[in-house]
């Protein structure tokens, strides 16, 4: 008997280890394989039992369910996992193996298409590799949506004794966990993507800057790098090609701003994580002043499938200038939360209501914050907005790292606006005044609005303008998005406070 149980931290947080212990007692002879998560977090821990070569799901499982799962009588039975609506409706390219394979088995990895992309890339010139990424239309998944191939071209063309690939695994945005899930569920994909990037631009060294809040991901990635090195996937002679690439995992230290690429580079160099002015671009003067590709985890982890299936096949998915798939993270007060990968173009409403099933509380949805703490609160009236970079921009929002946080109608939007300012104040790197001081003033000003000071609203609007125009990076520059979207879309929450005071 073969049983699969995720070791993803969301599954662990919901009791996967206790379920595994119970399964070992109920079926002492069974082989229990630990996997990543399929992304259906509301069903975690999701136990899968292989029956005649088909994996049947049971979830959300509790230790008491172990006996029933083993003898097939459990009321938690969901049927074949691949046949579940959530799975069937996806186009899983980046996440194809997550939840399926043992994350630390290179054999499993290769049996499911792993290393095909790297092998193909090793037969190509650096310029051909860069051209393939350009043709795929891949844009950075970390937030800014900058075309990945163009960034790689700059680094490829730069002359230097040493170039670097730096993976941004700082994933600090609330409502996001795609980076975490792929690092815990299919770490070799990220390693393979970084190796292809290195071979493409002529960088022999790489670093993953991984946030300290993710101890499970750090453990899995570190082990995967060791295994990849031992198997010759990393090192002086990558897969016997004569080309070199090696990498290390580096742990962050709990600063949100270190997700900003120049702050990250300073941190990686052992300095305070203060943002650097651009230019110079990191692509030309990045880590230790050398040409550096800085890319998000999902950007890099998507590279192998582009090389495996071809740029065209990837670019066939999507909408407008947003090509390929988006790895949506559906979070917050939502009935069915988790990770859903699909072509760009699906509407916000379909994601929240249809896939997510509305709120977990059963109350009406009030707002959805898209793109993390610097993203706008989208009201239900904007639910027809298609998920795409330009489409969100036109609707006053941003998709960022594609996390969606759902809020029900009990949410006080004034409180959320205040939190956005407070967060900016706590996490500011301190380099520019509009962010460092402005965010503190922002909290105070919102408190005045809450106390019924009507004039303070004009002050808040002005302050947001100053922060937008005078901040060096998007922490200070975009905090006005959540704040002003709350003010303009939910004016009652700011007025009601006033009446209460009167």
């Amino acid at each position: 008997m073969k049983i699969f149980v995720p070791m993803d931290s969301a599954a662990k947080a919901l009791g996967a280890e206790e379920v595994v212990a119970a399964l070992r007692v109920a079926a002492p002879d069974a082989e229990i394989v630990r996997t990543g998560s399929r992304g259906m977090i509301w069903l975690e821990p999701l136990v899968e039992v292989e029956i005649d070569g088909v994996r049947h799901g049971f979830g959300p499982a509790e230790p008491a369910d172990a006996g029933g799962i083993v003898d097939g009588t459990s009321a938690r039975a969901l049927g074949p996992v691949e046949d579940l609506d959530w799975m069937k409706r996806q186009s899983r390219l980046t996440f194809a193996r997550v939840g399926v394979i043992d994350p630390l088995s290179l054999d499993d990895y290769q049996a499911h298409g792993g290393l095909a992309g790297l092998r193909r890339a090793l037969g190509m010139s650096g310029q051909d590799i860069v051209d393939e990424v350009k043709a795929s239309g891949l844009r950075g998944r970390g937030g800014a949506g900058f075309p990945t191939g163009i960034k790689w071209q700059t680094v490829h063309d730069a002359e230097a004794p040493q170039k670097y690939i730096v993976c941004n695994a700082d994933e600090g945005d609330s409502g996001t966990f795609a980076d975490r899930m792929i690092m815990e569920g299919d770490p070799f994909t990220l390693i393979e993507g970084m190796a292809i990037a290195g071979i493409g631009v002529g960088a022999t060294r790489g670093y993953v800057y991984l946030r300290s809040e993710y101890p499970d991901a750090i453990a899995v990635m570190s082990r995967a790098v060791e295994l990849a090195r031992k198997a010759g996937m990393l090192g002086a002679d990558v897969l016997g090609s004569g080309r070199a690439f090696d990498m290390e995992i580096r742990k962050g230290a709990g600063a949100y701003v270190c997700g900003e690429e120049t702050s990250l580079l300073n941190s990686l160099e052992g300095k305070r994580g203060v943002v650097r002015a651009k230019p110079p671009l990191p692509a030309l003067e990045g880590f230790l002043g050398r040409p550096t590709v800085v890319n998000n985890v999902i950007s890099l982890a998507t590279v192998p499938v582009i090389f495996e299936k071809g740029a065209r096949a990837y670019a066939d998915f999507g909408l407008g200038r947003s090509r390929g798939t988006v790895t949506l993270q559906i979070a917050g007060n939502v009935a069915r939360g988790g990770l859903f990968e699909t072509g760009f173009g699906i509407s916000l409403g379909e994601v929240v209501n249809d896939l997510g099933g509305g709120t977990a509380s059963g109350r009406p949805v009030k707002a959805v914050q898209v793109g993390g703490p610097l993203g706008a609160y989208m009201p239900v009236s904007r639910f027809d907005t298609p998920i795409g970079y330009e489409e969100f921009d036109q609707n006053g929002g941003l998709i960022g790292h594609a996390g969606l946080v759902v809020f029900d109608d009990t949410t006080d939007m004034l409180g959320m606006a205040r939190f956005a300012m407070e967060f900016c104040a706590v996490e500011s790197c301190g380099k520019c005044t509009p962010c460092r001081i402005g965010a503190v003033r922002g909290v105070e000003t919102i408190d005045r609005i809450a106390e019924g000071d009507a004039g303070a609203l004009t002050l808040l609007t002005d302050l947001c303008e100053t922060m937008k125009d005078g901040s060096l990076c998007a922490l200070g520059g975009f905090t006005p998005f959540p704040v002003m979207s709350a003010v303009t879309q939910f004016p009652d929450d700011f007025a009601r406070q006033k009446e209460a005071a009167e």
Partner: protein, 158 residues
């Protein structure tokens, strides 16, 4: 409250430092290594780090104080991090945190009198589809409610 590793001596620091000093950007790995062993960054380690990396005390202090992770003093025997970010707020995380702090009579970053637990805020643990989320010494906990909190605190010896 005492640190479990008061006996750490200069040679141990030296060993931890030399393990990482040749890495590119060695300072964060060194600080993490020391904090992993001691639970904080003791003052006694400062001159050794400065010496090894050829940086000033002021530079070192600047780095240690910039990052939320690094402590200048020991924490309690267990560190309980509670997520304060938006997705956890949307499912009642604020109330959970308020109950916790109230029960322990602490503010954020405070430590219980018996030295059992230090409570810290964290901004997202990547468990945003199963919040409110928390982490005890690196072990993740989802859908935290009053009952789960009680169990966690009991386990931690509060």
């Amino acid at each position: 409250m005492q640190s479990p590793n008061v006996t750490i001596i200069a040679e141990d620091f030296g060993h931890l430092i030399s393990e990482h000093r040749d890495a590119e950007g060695a300072l964060l790995p060194i600080l993490h290594a020391i904090q992993d062993v001691c639970g904080y960054i003791p003052d006694a380690a400062h001159p050794l780090i400065c010496d090894a990396l050829n940086i000033t005390q002021a530079e070192l202090h600047g780095v240690i104080s910039f990052y939320h992770d690094f402590r200048k003093k020991p924490a309690g025997r267990h560190v309980l991090k509670v997520c304060r970010a938006e997705a956890c707020q949307s499912v009642g995380g604020d109330a959970v945190a308020a109950t916790l702090l109230d029960r322990l009579g602490l503010d954020w970053h405070g430590t219980t009198h018996n030295g059992a637990v230090t409570v810290e805020p964290v901004y997202c643990l990547g468990l945003c589809a199963c919040g409110p989320a928390a982490m005890v010494d690196g072990r993740v906990v989802g859908r935290v409610d009053a009952a789960k909190l009680d169990a966690l605190l009991a386990e931690a010896g509060v």
